[in-house]
């Protein structure tokens, strides 16, 4: 049988073009379906992200402002309890709560009973005296004078002003008494209530009083932890990768090490927390709740990520570059330090930043080493007890006051901002130094 007769016979049954054309429509449909499913998945994911961001921003945006109440405060030495003594120590120890209360009683003279006066006094934050103390220490000449001062409002007042809790008596969720609602309305009508940028959120540590609670302690704790993490995991990770990739013989032992490093990347982080508790706290006796220990534990967690990224980056450096350098008489170390490392550094740094971003968001292992403690002070060194951002989120989310709800969301926004910045820098780094061979 010749080829032509064979072709003719096939053609007589059904020409190829016809068979292809018949299937073409099905193929196109399959492609369209696949594309639609893909697009749907992307839109769904974006939708979830949108809902998440919308909820967080909606809940948290008001935390960046804080309600204050204007009162005419008289710096009365008798009330302050500092007759004649204007030394700094005396000014610092003076009773500012008393002059705040007196100022409030003067504003609303109708509050006569002890119960009413207590309610009136509670409209201002228990931390409002700090501002007055600062004023007087800065300018002792204020003693005996009266000044109009914006005082930090209590968190319930703040929530009512922001509209997070209802202000009508008898409605579920209202936390203000009838008196308080009346006084608040009165103050608002006098223009003595306003919301200001919430500086305390950025400058103070945690507090049981929502209006006094700030993120700065957690931010500093996170920064200390990440510095420790970077200092430990980057050199260790790069050294490990260089050794495994460039120097180690390829045998059963290095295979075993490689498998174990990959497994470590998949170990739940809480296990690393327990390891940190057992080794760093119990054996080495390092301080509890300290960013030092947190950073060490986080370093263990990012180490596999960094090693895997660094090895991949080094593998991507073409062997021809190594050969070129070796051919010129560069020693093995010179090949690594002069060529392989500089060329793979963008990839290594990208991996490191992503690892650090992972570490920044890590919570569970830090609970294990006691970083969940309630800490008011801003840590001065990595050895001081401290919170970190995600743990602060956890702590605030656990608090019952309504005002902590918006603060939780605000803390999440700050955390997400840091994460986004880190990921953005990783992307920019990759874009800038990406090299095609």
């Amino acid at each position: 049988m010749t080829e032509t007769t064979q072709m003719a016979r096939l053609g007589a049954v059904r020409p190829t073009a016809e068979i292809v054309a018949a299937r073409l429509k099905r193929r196109h449909n399959a492609e369209r379906r696949f594309r639609a499913v893909g697009l749907g998945a992307v839109l769904l994911a974006l939708g979830f992200l949108g809902v998440l961001l919308f909820t967080i921003v909606g809940n948290g945006i008001t935390a960046f402002v804080q309600t204050s109440i204007r009162v005419d405060v008289t710096f009365d030495p008798a009330q302050l309890g500092i007759e004649g003594d204007t030394s700094a120590d005396a000014l610092a120890a003076a009773n500012y709560q008393a002059i705040i209360k007196q100022a409030l009683y003067r504003t609303f003279p109708e509050a006569k009973t002890r119960g009413e006066q207590r309610q009136l006094g509670a409209m201002v934050s228990s931390g409002a005296d700090i501002e007055l103390r600062k004023m007087l220490i800065a300018d002792p000449a204020l003693l005996g004078q009266t000044r109009s001062v914006w005082l930090l409002a209590d968190d319930d007042i703040d929530m009512a002003v922001k509209g997070h809790i209802p202000r009508q008596p008898g409605i579920a969720g209202n936390r203000l008494s009838d008196n308080e609602i009346r006084w608040l309305d009165e103050l608002e009508s006098r223009g003595a209530v306003k919301t200001r940028f919430n500086t305390l959120l950025w400058t103070s540590g945690d507090s049981r009083e929502p209006e006094l609670a700030g993120l700065w302690g957690a931010v500093v704790g996170s920064i200390y932890s990440l510095i420790i993490t970077l200092l430990v995991s980057f050199p260790l990770g790069v050294a490990t990768s260089v050794y495994l990739e460039e120097f180690a013989p390829k045998n059963r032992w290095t295979d075993l090490i490689e498998v174990n490093i990959n497994n470590l990347a998949a170990v739940p982080s809480v296990v690393f927390g327990l390891l940190g508790l057992a080794v760093f706290l119990n054996i080495f006796g390092m301080p509890r709740s300290a960013p030092l220990v947190g950073g060490l534990v986080l370093a263990l967690i990012c180490l596999p990520t960094i090693i895997i990224a660094a090895r991949a980056a080094m593998k991507a450096v073409p062997p021809s570059i190594r050969e070129a350098a070796a051919g010129l008489g560069a020693s093995k170390l010179q090949v690594v330090t002069d060529h392989v490392l500089p060329l793979s550094m963008p990839g290594i740094l990208t991996g490191t930043i992503l690892g650090m971003a992972h570490a920044l968001g890590e919570t569970a292992p830090l609970l294990m080493i006691g970083m969940v403690a309630f800490i008011v002070d801003i840590p001065a060194t990595p050895l001081d007890p401290s919170a970190v951002l995600p743990v602060q989120v956890y702590l605030w989310a656990d608090s019952p006051e309504r005002a902590f709800v918006e603060r939780t969301s605000a803390a999440i926004m700050v955390l997400l901002l840091f994460l986004a910045l880190m990921n953005l820098s990783a992307i920019l780094l990759r874009k800038k130094f990406e090299r095609r061979w």
Binding site: S320, E323, A324, G329, A330
Partner: protein, 263 residues
């Protein structure tokens, strides 16, 4: 002696001499008891079909095979009479004397200047910047590249054309001041015009350097080399003056290869 042809030269004229040189890659016997002498001031071409061991032989001369896992070398290989595989010989020192140019141009992703200055820098060949400049300029000049790149020494070496890149790699090898230059199919990735330039350059370099070139192109071997060695299946089949190899080969295998019956 397994090799059918053994060349006996007075010792003084051999720059590189292999005696019963064998290379194993794991189980594979890549080079089988090769006896070959490379003469100073000549271009020696190594030809043969793929996998014949010619590149393996070349890479023994600057111990590039050290980088291959499971490579074992036996027999003796000498450079100016001293053993290349002597334990006391530092491979860094050897490679400063034996430069190499690779199949694919592989300039460092650095400036043209830094590409050439790298070798002198790691060996400490220049005592100051002026000397380094001098070395870079001379090397570029010798590689016939100076006129083309002298205005853009700070630009990346990877931005040059393929042929220019390969000449840059040759300049980079020259900059270290080697005695022997090994070339592993240096023109296989180049177009005919770039190839012609590199071949011309090889011819110019012959006066100052001993050159060993592996090539797949018999025309190239005929054009640039004075001696040619034909390898087949890990064995050295025949070696002789290039003219003699191409006009009057002694071995039937050589005859078959150069007339294109296999390979």
């Amino acid at each position: 002696m397994n090799s059918p042809v053994t060349v006996h030269l007075p010792l003084g004229t051999a720059k590189v001499a292999a005696r019963s040189l064998s290379v194993h890659y794991g189980e594979k016997h890549a080079l089988q008891s090769v006896d070959l002498e490379i003469r100073a001031g000549e271009v020696t071409a190594l030809i043969g079909p793929s996998g014949c061991g010619k590149s393996t032989f070349l890479r023994c001369i600057n111990r590039m095979n050290d980088m291959v896992d499971g490579a074992r070398v036996s027999g003796s290989l000498t450079l100016d009479g001293s053993d290349i595989y002597d334990r006391s010989l530092d491979v860094v020192q050897l490679r400063a004397r034996v430069g190499m140019v690779f199949q694919k141009p592989n300039p460092f992703p650095k400036s043209i200047y830094d590409n050439i200055a790298y070798g002198p820098r790691i060996h400490g060949l220049a005592r100051n910047q002026d000397e380094l400049d001098e070395i870079v300029m001379t090397s570029l000049e010798r590689a016939g590249l100076l006129a083309e790149v002298k205005d853009r020494l700070t630009e990346s070496g990877t931005g040059l054309s393929g042929g220019q890149q390969q000449r840059l790699c040759i300049a980079r090898a020259i900059a270290v001041g080697p005695e022997v230059i090994l070339m592993d199919e240096p023109c296989s990735a180049l177009d005919p015009i770039a190839t012609a330039k590199v071949e011309e350059l090889i011819d110019d370099l012959r006066d100052n350097y001993t050159i060993v070139i592996v090539t797949h192109s018999m025309q190239q071997a005929a054009r640039v080399s004075q001696r040619t060695a034909f390898f087949h299946l890990g064995k050295l089949i025949e070696v002789g003056d290039t003219e003699q190899i191409f006009t009057n080969p002694q071995q039937p295998l050589t005859q078959g290869y150069i007339t294109g019956r296999f390979g």
